[in-house]
């Protein structure tokens, strides 16, 4: 049981200017998870992975509750990539498995491009980072809160979506959670505003790790039309489309996504 408790490791980075909080849970081979723009949250997908892997989830600078202003120490995307690389080294992780979702998918791809040996295998779930004029990426940062459910989910009424969108009952807890969520979107948004394309395409040829690209077929934030493009740009990668699914396949179609992810991680 003790392995299913979340440990919080405080990892100093950026010459001591930034402290990365890394949530760690589970037992098994090392796996690093890069959270989406809204911040780190444990969901059934990560809990299930933690039964077979030791999951390390670094929190993006500025998104850790109680430490909001670290974001002001990170000026540009290359800074963020260096900071993550420092944190991974400080954690002593040697070529861990890696999974990145959405914004975290872009971060994972940036790391895999900058440091081709950093991950043994990489899964990206509906990652951002590319731009097709024919399919502009929805600007989730300036979206009205009421529109977010339908940007994120094919079926916002589904129980999985509702569980993720739930607001705490206690008013003060809800205030703190909402403020943190908005702040997190601003902190991660600093590196993708106003267009979430910062040259990743130029760097993808450097990726060496085997990459699995998973995409919700009906993703309304970044169209699944991007999946094949990304696949073409990463040699030896594989693309899997999850049917009847929006931007967060591991939540909206948990079982289907797990069935794709598990064998790839175990290979």
């Amino acid at each position: 049981m003790s392995s299913m408790i979340v440990e919080n490791l405080k990892v100093p980075a950026w010459g001591g200017l930034v402290t990365i909080n890394v949530q760690v849970k589970g037992q098994g081979p090392d796996l690093i998870y890069f959270h989406p723009a809204a911040g780190m949250a444990w969901d059934p997908f990560l809990d299930e992975l933690a039964r077979s892997y030791r999951v390390h989830a670094p929190e993006f600078p500025g998104t850790t509750p109680g430490n909001p202003y670290d974001i002001h120490k990170v000026d540009c995307l290359p800074d963020a990539v260096l900071i993550y690389e420092e944190a991974i080294r400080a954690l002593g992780l040697k070529q861990p498995l890696a999974i990145g979702q959405s914004f975290g998918g872009m971060i994972a791809l940036e790391l895999a491009s900058s440091y081709p040996d950093i991950f043994s295998r990489l899964i990206v779930l509906d990652p951002i980072g590319l731009w097709k004029p024919s399919h502009p990426v929805t600007n989730w940062i300036e979206a009205a809160p009421a529109d977010l459910p339908k940007i994120l989910f094919k079926d916002p009424a589904s129980s999985a979506a509702q569980a993720m969108l739930a607001v705490p009952d206690d008013p003060e807890t809800a205030v703190l959670a909402t403020a943190q969520l908005i702040w997190n979107l601003g902190a991660t948004g600093k590196f993708v505003w106003p267009i979430p394309e910062k040259g990743l395409s130029k760097r993808l040829h450097r990726v060496k790790a085997p990459v699995l690209i998973v995409w919700g077929e009906d993703d309304a934030l970044i169209s699944s039309a991007y999946a094949a493009d990304l696949g073409r740009q990463i040699a030896g990668s594989r693309v899997e489309i999850v049917k009847d699914c929006g931007h967060i396949p591991q939540v909206e179609k948990h079982d289907d996504t797990m069935a794709i992810v598990r064998p790839f991680l175990a290979a």
Partner: protein, 304 residues
Amino acid sequence: MIDCISNGRLVSGFPVGLPCDANVNNGVPPSETRARFDENLELVLRAWSERKPFPFNGKFSQYGSVNIWPRPIQASGPAVWITGIGNPKTMEFCLSRSFGFNYFGWFGWKLTGRRIFDRFGSIAEQMGKKRNPFQIGFMQTIAVAETDEEAERIYGPHIEYFFRKALGSIPPHRLMLPGGIDIRGLEFVLRDPADFGMAAKMRTATFRELVDAGCVICGSPETVRDQLVAMCKDFGIGNLHAMLQFGSLPKELTQRNIDLFSTRVLPHLRPIWEGEYDHHWWPERLGGKPAASEEKVREEEAAL
């Protein structure tokens, strides 16, 4: 240049602006807006005061040689005013740097004024700063006619047009893009959104609601005068930015509004703080007390 053309009459306001300006139209990440504002303000103030060209190595902009010409005429630079919406940090910033604090009454002074100016007062007290009404500016939409009935009839439709089509048409989430408001400020406004007064209702607000909230002060010269005098005295306001044109108000009505305001209302406002305080945030040529430099104000405070 404007200070030279006007022979030392420039008063300079530095608003951060709406997210539509920097973020949506110009692509600046919302979380950088404030830091860029701070950096650029320092650059402008330094450019006004340095006597020789200097290199500026900012985080957001780099200039090998800053050398403005012509220089401002006012010895210690034009007075600096910062616009705030109620964030305590902005108030602290104005007080600590001896800048003017400017507040906009669009959200309805009857709903927000007490909160905002009491907050300013208590922050000044905490910081040990002497409160001076001339350090406070207030922007108020004003409409004056011969009688209250006439004012409602001739200005009413233009007032509704302005509030519904301008501020009221900006959705709340566009006014506070993620990253643009400090997390403590977010917690504050989520707990208690009252600083935004009429904002949420503005898109469909009626003339009566706008008047009741104080978004506009509208009526006969006596009605307008009484409200403005009470407001300025009550909140300790020493500078009124009278907004006498709004929305679809045509030229002739605007001129009439200006005439009635300046002849029948303004004379009652001018003497309110006269002789009680020195105006450090106003050009000397217009009757201000030497646009005191920050150092000078600090010296005065130390002497008190």
